[in-house]
């Protein structure tokens, strides 16, 4: 009888533990799959759900927030997806958020990803419909990949042709690869380039030195760049130069007028310079004057020996002789 009781207790413990494992499993599963949390329903419509199934997860910012509740055909061959979304995260999902279909890993289950939404817009409410964004279709990707493949084939074909020509020594590159003379020329060019580079280097160094000197204090350029008073002085000098230039212009105009007058014959200087008749008359006057002066000199010499003027000349000669002796 005692043994029977003992067995009953052990069976009871066994049953209890077994049921406990089942209950813990169910609760854990429910908790993880958000079966026992308050949820709201959101809807979205896709043209193609790509194998999405009831029970697939809903992600928002990389966090699972619910599951796909129902999938129905809608309108013109579109598919409406009803989602159970945790009530606790509703405040973060906005009415302008978008829903797209993605996959959990590279080859994982399909999931719905809710993303975007601006803070200015109100949060979603039960029964709201989110805008859907069609995901990248694998077939489309494969089509693009196929085009890429075809391009690649064409490119490799061209490359093959090109390398064939180069190997045969055709074209400039081919010649460069096979012609030894061209190679020598190329070497010479390279040597020249090397020298030019060395020269450039030297020039640059000189320029560096020059600019370093320019930057030293006391040099004109440095003063120009750094000394603010020079600018004022330069401005003053420029103003003076402008005034001088204006004066020079005025002078030039005056000279021009003078020269114009000199060119004409209506004045004495112009007549003197330009009138040939006047010049001839002047020459004859000067010749007459020269001849008169000569005759006057002759008369004056004759007068030196004539009384009473000869005494005056003698007194002058004596005074000059005396002055010379005194020196």
């Amino acid at each position: 009888m005692r043994g029977e009781n003992r067995r009953s207790v052990i069976v009871g413990i066994f049953v209890f533990v077994g049921i406990a494992i089942l209950v813990v499993g169910v609760l854990t599963l429910g908790g993880q799959q958000k079966k026992f949390v308050k949820a709201i329903q959101l809807k979205t419509v896709f043209d193609d759900i790509g194998g999405l199934q009831t029970g697939n997860n809903i992600w928002f910012s990389g966090v699972k927030i619910g599951t796909v509740k129902k999938i129905n055909f809608y309108g013109d061959a579109q598919v409406e997806v009803e989602m159970n979304v945790e009530e606790a995260v509703v405040e973060f999902i906005r009415k302008d958020s978008k829903a797209t279909i993605s996959s959990d890993g590279l080859i994982g289950n399909k999931i719905i990803v809710i993303y975007g939404g601006s803070t200015e817009v109100a949060q979603v409410e039960d029964g709201d419909r989110l805008e859907s964004v069609m995901p990248l279709d694998t077939d489309q990707m494969m089509e693009t990949l196929q085009i890429n493949n075809e391009n690649l084939v064409e490119i490799t074909g061209n490359l093959k042709e090109l390398t064939g020509k180069i190997a045969a020594g055709k074209g400039m590159v081919g010649a460069a690869m096979t012609d030894s003379l061209l190679a020598d020329n190329f070497k010479a060019i390279m040597a020249n380039l090397d020298r030019a580079a060395a020269n450039s280097n030297r020039v640059v160094n000189d320029l560096n030195t020059f600019t370093a000197k320019l930057n030293q204090k006391g040099y004109l350029f440095n003063d120009l760049v750094t000394d603010t008073t020079i600018v004022k002085e330069l401005k003053a000098s420029m103003a003076s130069l402008n005034a001088t230039a204006a004066n020079a212009q005025q002078l030039t105009l005056e000279l021009q007028k003078v020269s114009e007058k000199l060119s004409s014959t209506d004045n004495s200087m112009g007549m003197l310079l330009n009138d040939a008749e006047f010049a001839e008359s002047l020459r004859s006057t000067l010749e007459n004057t020269d001849s008169a002066t000569y005759n006057l000199n002759k008369g004056m010499e004759a007068l030196e020996y004539t009384w009473p003027f000869n005494k005056g000349f003698k007194r002058k000669a004596k005074a000059e002789a005396k002055e010379a002796d005194g020196n």
Binding site: V15, G18, Q33, G55
Partner: protein, 265 residues
Amino acid sequence: MAEESEDRKPLLSKKIDKFFTGLADAWNFVRRFFQEVFMPPYEFKEIIQQCYRIGVESLPLISLTGFIVGIVFTNQSRPSLSEFGAASWLPSLISIAVVRAMGPLVTALIAAGKVGSSIGAEIGSMKVTEQIDAMEVSATNPFKFLVVSRVLATTLMIPLLVMYTDFVALMGSFLSVNANEMVSMTTFFVQVFEAITFLDIISSVFKSVLFGFTIGIVGCYKGYNSSKGTEGVGRAANAAVVMAMFLIFIEELLVLQLVNAIRGM
């Protein structure tokens, strides 16, 4: 005389007639079980006794088997998943495999071998030694006492054993995954529960109940219908195991189809 010879003449063929007769007997046996199970008196003491034998005494063997299955399945799956760089999916894979199929199946097969044969042999020996007839004479309902208690015990205990097996197999798998992939227990069990659904657990429990009932009813039926002395006892035990295992696989297939149909709805 003519009627007697008419009765002995097979309807289709001797073997086919025997097969269908056996089927009819089995159906009557099952029907009798369902008639008796709800009718008092209830043999609680015997049911507890059988629960102890079937459940508690099978626990060490079932646990060890489940633990080894968990480790072995994990280690066998790792190379294939690693080839795809998907070794991190081991917990999900093991979880699906253990909860959906291996837990109930391994438990049921082990129980069919251990419990089914024991029931078949026990009832068979009682049958050939006419203890069952003696019980009938002593106003005890042998069917209720022997069959109903054992079938109820297997039907109740196998689901519980499956829970233990699932848990132990997952722990075995965790040890392997933890040693090789350095996955923590939290991460492991998060992935385990992420992969399965309520439907998996419900189908697992449903299958376990079905397997338990099958093991009990087949063991009892084979033992209850044994004959030909001690040789018949051995045959009953053997037939109980073989038939139970065969039916378990058939049921597994049918339940799988049913669950997949529900999953697709």
